[in-house]
């Protein structure tokens, strides 16, 4: 999404879904994963007569609330969406003016869409042609329509194409930048958005600044440390600019290409120490490989309120440290919800037992590693303090530095005032009343200045920038292939001095674009461009003139730096349709993908996987659990709801293998791994696929690991991890694992 229009985040909000006339949900299950957020969907249905369309391989609890449910084969979202686009363009339901003013490269999409007629879509996706026509007609004619997705779109080897085609569908219909429209990704954990914004990521610094030398220089100076000192901490400046290993494949970094494992490129070393803080790594794909990685480390450090089951999975005998971390109710700080809005989470109680907060653990280690002063210097800069107050000074440090996503307005004081006054905001628009007037709840980013009220609805040109309006971001240059990338005539946000498209604002072009004259003092203080302007002069002046600091450009349907410039269908690496895998092959293998060589076509063509592994495997969540389930299984009440790991299986499929309801079954993966789970008859899955929750750990390939838990730490429910049998396969751009659409073989146990 960031590659389409500038930011990769939910564009509208949960409350705004109540404005929709049609809601299409692709590979997301909010009724289970975001139950309280789902009330806004149901209100749209009840009050606005909105139609809900669910596209999912499994008949979920969300599907049970839908007006239309399309049971798509895993990994065929792109053909389905092209099928919709085919009908939209053919019938002229697209928004021509919107496309010509605000979108680049739609012609190529139109060409590709021609190939995907309803009959062909039916063959590939399994969704009847009539149904495709019915839901497309409904969706295209019920505007505004909102498009929801979650991991059902991302967890594929071509997930990054899925998450581009969904925005393209919305752009085609002109559903962007309007109330009740937008692309609304539902984040999983409570602070995925915040932790992503802060770049607990291997490919960027906080605020998506990237890893370029300029970005490091900006952060060194903003952190109050010497750039040479900082670069001296790395192996070399060269390695400062290289993406690191990811959560999906760090274990390959330990295994170092030995015994047929993928080759790595990691500054001449393999991984020796693993430091984990609040991350249930028993919920990542290929658990057998995770175990192998863990077993071969020199040291494992696991900081969590509960035992991290990585400690149970590994057979490593020494130097496995378990540190008791405080929960988020034993500290305070800010948290960013799925719609980019921030909330202050107040401390409820002091850390229990001997547990310590995450930041205290980091501070203590920084002291011992000799960089504590440099580490904490950034918190003291703003007011030239002797010491800092956690977390307020950290919040203000972030607000001072992160311009790219407009966090200037997120000062601790303002965020706290929203907590104190949360009753003063409208549930649909987020608008504040009374003394909160002029602000939106949680100051959804970008909040460009210290008084800006936030932007609840991205890319809305019907509001002024000061009131949260903006066009698409100018992020990909001014032109491509001779075509102008700036927005068309008359498509600037309301109240702007510029009526058309304009570039992102720099110290050089500010006077020209804004039509102003800077004083000599301002010229001296202004930063090079809006992203590094710590004086915030650019943003302040922009607000006065109605200009978005990041420019006003076209969204792009075509990403010329990606392997597929427009999204193309490619069969999953393990496809049940070997005929289609030949017609729509995967990508070429990718060398050095986040430091590890990654297989695509060679894995797909290694053998006809569908012969020995004829059943599709889909994983997902349960309402009483999330993530690796550590927290929830440590609660006796939640654990009691699903005390055992299970597999949903259609009785007709189970019958073929002699598997009875409630009996045990084996599931085998193409990687040679297996798990033993209880069969649960269910018609939520058809005969060609099975569904499993991914929240369990504590059993491994049929073995109960209870004896490996430290005394008094074993959760109330344990079981096989579904991820022991999820397949090899990683997204071509993001390296997100392909856990939604692998293959397996089953037998009675």
């Amino acid at each position: 999404m960031a590659n389409t229009w500038g930011y990769g985040a939910m564009t509208n909000s949960l409350g705004d879904i109540q404005n929709a006339k049609a809601i299409i949900i692709f590979g997301a299950n909010p009724a289970v994963n975001h139950p309280v957020g789902f009330q806004h969907f149901l209100k749209a249905k009840e009050r606005n007569n909105a139609k809900i369309i669910v596209i999912d391989p499994v008949f979920t609890k969300t599907a049970a609330k839908a007006d239309h449910y399309c049971q798509v084969r895993p990994g065929t979202d792109i053909p389905f969406m092209y099928g919709m686009l085919h009908l939209i363009f053919k019938n002229g339901w697209h928004d021509e003016k919107f496309i010509s003013d605000r979108v680049y490269g739609m012609e190529d999409v139109m060409e590709e869409a021609k190939k995907w007629n309803p009959k062909k879509v039916e063959d590939v996706t399994g969704v009847p042609a009539d149904q495709l026509i019915q839901v497309t007609t409904l969706y295209a004619r019920s505007t505004p329509g909102t498009l929801i997705w979650a991991m059902g779109l991302t967890q594929h080897s071509n997930g990054s194409s899925n998450t581009r085609l969904a925005p393209i569908l919305q752009l085609a219909l002109g559903n962007m930048g309007v109330e009740g429209g937008g692309t609304n990704i539902l984040r999983g954990h409570d602070n995925v958005q915040g932790a992503t914004d802060m770049a607990c990521l291997s490919d960027t610094l906080p605020g998506y600044y990237g890893l370029s030398d300029g970005a490091w220089q900006y952060f060194a100076s903003s952190w109050g440390v010497d750039y040479e000192w900082l670069s001296g901490r790395f192996k070399s400046k060269e390695w400062m600019g290289k993406k690191g290993f990811t959560l999906a494949r760090w274990w390959a970094g330990v295994l170092d290409g030995k015994d047929g494992n993928d080759q790595i490129h990691n500054a001449g070393t393999n991984l020796k120490n693993l430091f984990v803080m609040g991350n249930g790594i028993t919920s990542i794909a290929q658990q057998a490989k995770v175990k192998e990685g863990l077993d071969n480390l020199d040291m494992i450090v696991l900081c969590d309120p509960f035992v991290n089951e990585a400690a149970i999975l590994t057979d490593k005998q020494d130097d496995v440290f378990i540190l008791p971390a405080a929960t988020q109710f034993e500290t305070s700080g800010s948290v960013t919800a799925t719609n980019r809005s921030v909330q202050w989470r107040n401390k409820v109680v002091e850390p229990m037992y001997e547990s310590k907060t995450d930041h205290d653990i980091m501070f203590e280690l920084a002291k011992r590693l000799g960089f504590y002063d440099e580490y904490t210097a950034g918190m003291k800069i703003k007011e030239n303090k002797q010491d800092y107050t956690w977390p307020e000074d950290a919040t203000d440090e972030i607000a001072r530095i992160i311009k790219t996503i407009g966090l200037t307005g997120w000062t601790a004081k303002r965020i706290k005032s929203h907590n104190e006054n949360w009753h003063m905001f409208d549930q649909i628009s987020g608008r504040g009343y009374g003394k909160m007037k002029g602000e939106y709840y949680g100051l959804p980013w970008p909040a460009w200045t210290e008084t800006h009220g936030g932007s609840p609805l991205l890319y809305n040109i019907n509001r002024s920038v000061a009131e949260g309006g903006m066009g698409f971001r100018n992020r990909f240059g001014l032109e491509h292939d001779g075509q102008d990338l700036l927005a068309g005539a008359g498509s600037a946000p309301k109240g702007s001095v510029q009526k058309d498209g304009y570039p992102e604002i720099t110290a050089v072009n500010i006077e020209e674009v804004l039509g102003i004259k800077l004083t000599a003092d301002e010229k001296k203080r202004i930063g090079k461009n809006w992203k590094v302007d710590t004086s915030n002069i650019i943003a302040e002046k922009c607000m006065e003139q109605g200009i978005a600091p990041y420019g006003n450009a076209k969204a792009r349907a075509k990403v010329w730096t990606f392997p597929d410039q427009i999204p193309m269908h490619r069969e999953p690496l393990h496809s049940p349709r070997s005929d289609l895998a030949k017609e729509y092959p995967s990508f070429d293998d990718k060398e050095n993908h986040f430091r590890v060589d990654t297989k695509y076509i060679s894995k797909q063509t290694e053998q006809d996987w569908s012969k020995d592994f004829p059943i599709n495997l889909v994983t997902g969540r349960l309402v009483n659990m999330n993530g690796a389930g550590m927290e929830n299984r440590a609660s006796k009440y939640l654990a009691a709801l699903t005390p055992e790991m299970f597999c949903s299986i259609n009785p007709d499929l189970a019958g073929k293998y002699g598997i009875r309801d409630g009996s045990m079954m084996w599931i085998h993966s193409p990687e040679g791994t297996k798990i033993k789970v209880k069969a649960k008859y269910s018609h939520s899955v058809p005969e060609d696929r099975i569904f499993m929750p991914f929240h369990f750990a504590g059993h491994f390939q049929g073995e109960d690991l209870s004896h490996k838990y430290p005394k008094g730490t074993k959760p109330y429910a344990i079981g096989e991890s579904a991820n022991t049998v999820t397949n090899y396969g990683y997204d071509i751009v993001t390296q997100i694992p392909e856990t939604k659409g692998g293959l397996c073989r089953i037998e009675f146990a």
């Binding site: 949960l14 409350g15 994963n33 309280v36 957020g37 984040r187 999983g188 954990h189 409570d190 915040g194 932790a195 802060m198 770049a199 607990c200 291997s202 901490r233 192996k235 390695w239 400062m240 290289k242 993406k243 690191g244 959560l247 760090w250 990691n266 070393t269 020796k272 120490n273 430091f275 984990v276 803080m277 991350n279 020199d298 309120p305 509960f306 035992v307 130097d319 440290f321 378990i322 929960t327 109710f329 700080g333 800010s334 948290v335 919800a337 799925t338 107040n346 401390k347 409820v348 229990m352 920084a366 011992r368 977390p391 972030i398 009753h423 309402v623 009483n624 609660s635 939640l638 997100i736």
Partner: protein, 186 residues
């Protein structure tokens, strides 16, 4: 839980052990075992209205998912005693799912980690924070010097506060590696 029972017990036993006893009492209470033996009595109206005298309410946010529901946590003598939905929260509107309603139980779970531990020769051993941190830092420092900073992998969390996540990223940077990631990658 009855206030007079609570008051009486509070003076006799520690708070934590009281919480455990309260759990037992609740379970037993369900069978009405105590109803006739003079241990319990009907609550007064005041006790029903205000079972935790002197408690304070903290407005905070659920840690389960990205919806960000409001929670009203009731705290008495430093113990989280009761959890209430936030009727006036603009997103959750008084709603709670089973995970959200369970936040109080998660924090007070008996299977929480209580002290640092290390596995040595296959056995779990308790150790002090200072010992644990010293030993971890020594190893990190040694690998930094011999194998280089890229020998470490830092896995952070979407369950941290934004400030902690930012400081986690800064930690990896100052250790000298880009081997850092979190759950957005799944």
């Amino acid at each position: 839980m009855l206030a007079n029972t609570y008051e009486r017990l509070k003076t006799q036993i520690g708070r934590r052990s009281f919480m455990k006893m309260a759990a037992v009492a609740t379970a037993a209470g369900a069978t009405n075992a105590f109803a006739n033996d003079g241990v319990t009595r009907a609550a007064t109206q005041e006790e029903v209205k205000n079972p935790f005298p002197g408690s304070t309410s903290v407005k905070t946010i659920c840690t389960a998912c990205s919806v960000g529901c409001g929670i009203i946590a009731e705290v008495q003598n430093g113990v989280w005693v009761r959890q209430e939905v936030a009727q006036d929260h603009p997103i959750s509107l008084g709603g709670h799912c089973c995970k959200g309603a369970d936040m109080i139980d998660m924090v007070r779970s008996e299977v929480r980690l209580k002290h640092p531990m290390v596995k040595e020769a296959g056995k779990w051993k308790r150790l002090s924070w200072d010992d644990a941190l010293d030993r971890i830092a020594t190893k990190l420092k040694a690998s930094h010097e011999t194998a280089g900073p890229d020998s470490a992998m830092f896995l952070g969390s979407a369950k941290m506060s934004t400030e902690q996540a930012y400081y986690f990223r800064k930690f990896a940077a100052m250790y000298g590696t880009n081997n850092i990631d979190h759950q957005a990658r799944i």
